[in-house]
Symmetry: C2
Subunit: 124 residues, 2 copies
DNA sequence: ACAGCATAGCTTGCGTAGCATGGTATACTT
DNA sequence: AAGTATACCATGCTACGCAAGCTATGCTGT
């Protein structure tokens, strides 16, 4: 049973929400985000993340700086929420709750017994 | 704050799950599905639903028949799960729970305080 | 010395699905 | 006759996930 392409579709949009949510906690760089959002059951691969970060920066939702952390060997690009991003994430989180509640309800109701059969003759 | 195109992205894949879940209860026709899945906070418009039903039928996940119900004025096309669709929906529902739990966790953890600031000098 | 691997970030091209818009056809209402 | 409701379908646009592949640095083992 192949559900992999369907899962890709399901992830659309969720990546943006998860990344912005992670950055709400504070500054992070690419691979750091990937480890926190792309693990088992995760929603991100690196080919998805970097274009996404670039886009969010271009759209003004994120700001970025290159920095050399004390324990790092090579420079990292650190991203943080802009004022606009900060304003957006609250609304997105509210919409996510609404959306996931709706889908979960639809999924769960389908467990409760059969509907009565539809009357009517099939047309051939 | 425009989140409408983001919401479209979020809906991708969810429509298929919701439709198959509704059909797990029993036979339904197009507008019937639309009323149960497309309302407020819903995930479907009719320009999405009909191509989706056609695709699912073509892929063998659904079977359909035209029928004249007693209370209807014009014929309706009734869809039901095929054996393959029945086998698939269980797996999809399991994956949905996993996925939505992951995203919800990411969203909710972002409420718990600030991370410690990253040490390191910005490179200019 | 140098091959291999880990860390870190980025680019290209493909495929898929949501959806706005518009269309067909029938039946009922005014 | 015109308008509205029911019911289904087709076209074209767009966005985004992701596989695959690229660059560059620094550490480690032989």
């Amino acid at each position: 049973m192949d559900t992999s392409s369907w899962q890709s579709q399901l992830r659309k949009g969720a990546a943006e929400l998860v990344v912005l949510s992670l950055l709400k906690e504070g500054e992070r760089y690419g691979l750091d985000i990937l480890e926190n959002a792309g693990g088992s059951g995760g929603v991100l691969s690196d080919g998805t993340l970097y274009p996404l970060l670039t886009r969010l920066e271009r759209e003004g939702k994120l700001e970025a700086r290159w920095a050399m952390a004390d324990d790092a060997k090579i420079p990292r690009k650190y991203y943080r929420l802009s004022d606009e991003g900060e304003a957006l994430i609250g609304e997105m989180q509210r919409l996510w709750h609404e959306f996931s509640a709706f889908v979960s309800r639809a999924v769960e109701e389908s467990g409760n017994g059969k509907r009565t059969a539809v009357r009517g003759r099939t047309i051939s």
